[in-house]
């Protein structure tokens, strides 16, 4: 009996969910995200990913996946500790509308995700090993800079912070351009 009511409430919450996002500009969103992060102080790292979800007048909720590529694996150009480094991340993006007019919408966003650092050591070729992994939070502000009937371009500036456990090498500013 208790199990049934739990299942029913989960089903109901899924059914009610779209109404939370209801509004004239509400709907399903799909974005291709691209940009860069400044990690380990000032190291430039390209970022790419996908995100999709529901956006409404005030609130929005997206699921995202991001990948970062480090040009200096392990923080060094010599490659004596690591010859390749990438990071992967998947999580949920919460959006709140900060400002809206006829041409643009600004959102306060917070990403909450799980990140993993993948390193290739000099002794084993073509294999990436998982090293640091944990929770990533990325608050920021994104603004639509161009909008068409079906397409839009949005730019966001964020600060990413690793938690649980903290891995300060990946903390830093991120700039993302969201297309579609």
């Amino acid at each position: 009996m208790k199990k049934k009511s739990v299942v029913l409430s989960i089903l109901l919450s899924f059914l009610v969910m779209p109404s939370v996002f209801a509004g004239p500009n509400s709907g399903f969103d799909f974005h291709v995200d691209g940009g860069f992060a400044l990690v380990r102080g000032s190291q430039f790292a390209p970022v790419a990913g996908l995100s999709f979800g529901l956006t409404g007048n005030v609130y929005g909720l997206e699921v995202y996946g991001l990948g970062e590529m480090m040009f200096q694996p392990g923080g060094s150009k010599t490659g004596k500790n690591a010859v390749g480094e990438v990071s992967s991340e998947a999580g949920v993006r919460f959006l709140w509308t900060l400002f809206r007019d006829t041409k643009t919408i600004s959102h306060l966003t917070v990403d909450v995700g799980y990140f993993a650092q993948w390193l290739q050591t000099p002794s084993v070729a073509n294999t990436y090993y998982r090293m640091h992994n944990g929770v990533m939070i990325r608050p920021g502000i994104s603004t639509i800079i161009w909008e068409d009937k079906f397409y839009q371009m949005e730019i966001g500036v964020y600060y990413q912070k690793t938690l649980l456990p903290s891995y300060t090498d990946y903390d830093g500013v991120v700039v993302l351009l969201k297309l579609l």
Partner: protein, 131 residues
């Protein structure tokens, strides 16, 4: 028909090449200790002990003062894992004296110069020589 077979063979070959290019991922920790390590006597500039740890999990330990060499397999487990500093336990199938033994280790690397030192059981301080 022959053309189809040729195209198929070429695509198979290409697939093989492509799959070789796709990197593998492993959730197991990397082995940071791989390489040749030596305990060097700074006065005589000679080494008294040598430890070779290879990528396949085999090791060779040589004590030049006792003129002994032990070979076997080893495994590494980490308490702390970072590219520049790691510690944990290393188990040698035949130890350094012919008997299996688990020893603690601490590993230090330099950001640009790579592995530097490997301290085993808080006693022997091995210096990194090469991979």
């Amino acid at each position: 028909m022959a053309l189809c077979v040729l195209v198929l063979c070429a695509s198979c070959d290409m697939m093989g090449k492509l799959s070789g290019l796709i990197p593998k991922i492993s959730t197991d920790p990397p082995n940071l200790l791989v390489g040749t390590w030596k305990v060097i006597d700074t006065n005589t500039n000679t080494y008294s002990k040598q430890l070779v740890l290879d990528t396949t999990g085999k090791y060779s330990y040589t004590d030049t003062t006792a003129s002994t060499t032990v070979e076997g397999s080893y495994s590494v487990s980490y308490d702390h894992l970072d590219l520049l500093q790691a510690s944990g336990e290393i188990t040698f199938s035949k130890g350094f004296d012919g008997h299996e033994s688990a020893k603690t280790f601490s590993f230090v690397a330099d950001k640009d110069d790579g592995p530097q030192s490997l301290k085993i059981n808080n006693e022997d301080a091995f210096v990194f020589i090469s991979r």
